[in-house]
């Protein structure tokens, strides 16, 4: 069955990165465009750059930890490094990551729309993001020194520390505003710009993931907004709400902080899970197992996940009653996540599995996120958390779920959509080798951290007892292998960006809407010919066919229905 693009049989009007007259859009074309694809690339360039910088900061930290009496960094410098590494990774890379890069580039396409609901607001969100990033980075150079409070900005230290806390905090505040605006844009777009026939239950699950995330962005981010403002107000005016000498309660700061920051981790992971949900059907050539369950589990994770923040505070002075309550809710939220994993694996059963690079990363995601999730149970249980809180066990846990989860989800998305976005193919073999280098290094690094943590190594320390030395060295070496794998992976993609062979419209045989467009897509998605949707997103046209199954005419749609019944 011919794809939409093939039936019209010509090259795209003008690809998204060129102007109408065929010239390259150039920097100006990108910085002034409200086109969702260009904005997605603006975010991608910024985010990957910040990711690289933050990785370097991490490498420096690991070098310090090669020996217990290392003079490589001072304690103050180390404090600043882990703070900036955290702030950059969390607020500049992981939280915005998938929604702003792939949400922007693909959400309108996936729902059959032309652009986001508020394109100018979209571009403004990017500028706000860049301003926030600039303020955060500037706080390193100006003022009284780089912030050293940890990315969590706990009081009372953040109130008393003489370094440039207000500036860093203000930068994060701006980033939060950008996040809220993006969330508003996403929710409105999904409600208002779906193509005819695209009911909610025919949406690709990646859309469900990004959509659920957007709700959390709108509801939870304001809370950290006001919390950060309160830090600044406390420092400048001294109202006393977090100052024990005035009756304030530092633990209330932690409550307010984590009311956002725990749902934030679901902002991080839900879009990644959504993309994984898109990949499993494609690479198993089989419909997803339990579509509605996965869709609703995204909403369940978003809502129940907003109730568990106290599990960061078991040993802070929180009451036992609250701790027990939060522990119970924490165990509850593991259920929808586990449901997703079962459904993904069930999708593969009796499918025709092809482990191309995107799927390799998806499988990596499953493995690493599961390990991370299981260690989360150790942390969620009160008794074992007392032992592991503030140790490397926590650091290992969140790197498994965030880096192994969202990170590998991001890498999977990049490898999946790269040919579509740029119209070029990359070297699959090299991508596969890079994956394994990355995967091995990752596990050597973070598994060792879990072991170190269990053995009592505290986090955020720039030195340690000599008995931990061997494991620390192993971890550092693992980090080097891991970073090597990252370098290979990105190097492969960058090379393909410049020298890759031309990609076809549908290299993976996907059945979602983006594969009916040419690679790369045109500036306008559907060129006044929006699709009419007649079936769900994971209906495949035979086990081996790579032709897309979307058609725009009712007759062809009926033919697709008949074919579907045949399977």
């Amino acid at each position: 069955m011919a794809s939409h693009a093939e039936s019209t049989g010509h090259h795209p009007a003008h690809p998204w990165y060129r102007n109408e007259d065929g010239t390259r859009a150039g920097l100006r074309g990108f910085l002034t465009s409200t086109n969702h694809k260009r904005i997605g690339i603006l975010y991608m360039s910024a985010i990957l750059t910040f990711f690289a910088i933050a990785v370097v900061l991490g490498v420096l930290m690991r070098i310090q930890m090669l020996s217990p009496d290392s003079k490589f960094l001072s304690g103050q410098a180390y404090n600043s490094l882990f703070t900036i590494h955290g702030i950059m990774m969390i607020f500049l890379v992981v939280i915005p990551g998938i929604p702003t890069i792939f949400g922007n580039f693909f959400l309108p396409i996936l729902i059959g729309g032309e652009d986001m609901s508020f394109p100018r607001l979209n571009l403004f969100s990017w500028y706000l993001y860049m301003l926030g990033a600039f303020v955060v980075l500037a706080s390193l150079a100006f003022g009284t020194g780089p912030v050293d409070t940890g990315w969590t900005f706990y009081v009372p230290y953040s109130l008393n520390s003489t370094v440039n806390v207000p500036m860093a905090v203000f930068g994060v505040f701006l980033l939060g505003m950008s996040s809220i605006l993006t969330g508003i844009n996403i929710v409105t777009t999904v409600h208002q710009h779906r193509a005819p026939g695209m009911t909610f239950f025919r949406l690709p699950l990646s859309v469900w993931g990004i959509y659920s995330t957007a709700w959390v962005q709108v509801l939870a981010t304001p809370v950290i907004g006001i919390t950060l403002v309160l830090i600044m107000v406390e420092r400048i005016v001294g109202i006393g709400v977090f100052d024990a000498s005035k009756g304030g309660d530092p633990i209330l700061y932690q409550h307010l902080f984590w009311i956002y920051s725990h749902p934030a981790v679901y902002i991080m992971i839900l879009p990644a899970m959504g993309i994984i949900s898109d990949l499993f059907p494609v690479f198993s050539r089989k419909n997803i197992w339990g579509y509605k369950t996965i869709a609703f589990s995204s909403l369940a994770i978003a809502s129940v996940g907003s109730l568990v923040w106290g599990h960061h505070m078991y040993v802070s002075g929180q009451s036992d009653t609250a701790s027990i309550l939060f522990s119970f809710l924490t165990f509850l939220v593991a259920v929808p996540s586990a449901i997703k994993v079962f459904n993904w694996v069930a999708t593969m059963y009796k499918g025709s599995v092809k482990v191309d690079p995107p799927f390799l990363y998806a499988l990596g995601f499953i493995a690493l996120f599961s390990i991370g999730g299981l260690t989360g149970l150790v942390l969620g249980a009160l008794s074992t958390d007392v032992h592991t809180h503030d140790t490397y066990f926590v650091v290992g846990h969140f790197h498994y779920v965030i880096f192994g989860g969202m990170g590998f989800g991001l890498f999977a998305a990049i490898h999946y959509w790269f040919p579509k976005m740029f119209g070029k193919t990359y070297n699959y073999r090299f991508a596969t080798i890079s994956f394994f280098v990355l995967f091995v290094g990752f596990n050597v690094f973070y598994m060792t951290m879990l072991i170190l943590g269990w053995a009592g190594m505290p986090r955020r320390y720039y030195s340690y007892l000599p008995k931990y030395t061997d494991l620390q060295v192993i971890a550092t070496i693992g980090s080097w292998v891991m970073v090597g794998g990252l370098g290979m992976m990105f190097g492969n993609l960058i090379h393909a960006f410049f020298h890759g062979k031309k990609a076809e419209a549908n290299p993976w045989g996907g059945a979602t809407l983006e594969w009916t467009l040419p690679s790369p897509p045109a500036f306008e998605n559907w060129e006044h010919n929006p699709p009419v949707i007649t079936h769900g997103p994971y209906v495949f046209n035979g086990r081996d066919s790579h032709a897309a199954t979307r058609e725009t005419s009712p007759a062809a749609g009926a033919a697709a229905e008949t074919e579907k019944k045949g399977h």
């Binding site: 809370v223 209330l252 409550h255 907003s306 109730l307 923040w309 009653t321 609250a322």
Partner: protein, 91 residues
Amino acid sequence: MTHRSHFLRYIYIWIALIVLTGITVTTAGLNVGRIGILIVLAIAATKSTLVLLWFMHLSTEKRLLLKLLVPIAIGALAIFIGLTYSDVLTR
């Protein structure tokens, strides 16, 4: 409905708001003890509902999700405050 009755409806809502304000101020003057906070919150919620429904036109809004948005926000807030109370009140 005529323009005039629409206009009057705004006036009636305003009068209701002023009356409720008067009630809440008077109640505060009396000594009703711990129930006082519930009464003032209930009256404030009523006033807000009037503003939301009639001044902000939620009563004529067709899309269900939009009508639920504010209750969802209040609900989220209530849960945040409630769970935090579970800590602060039991220490």
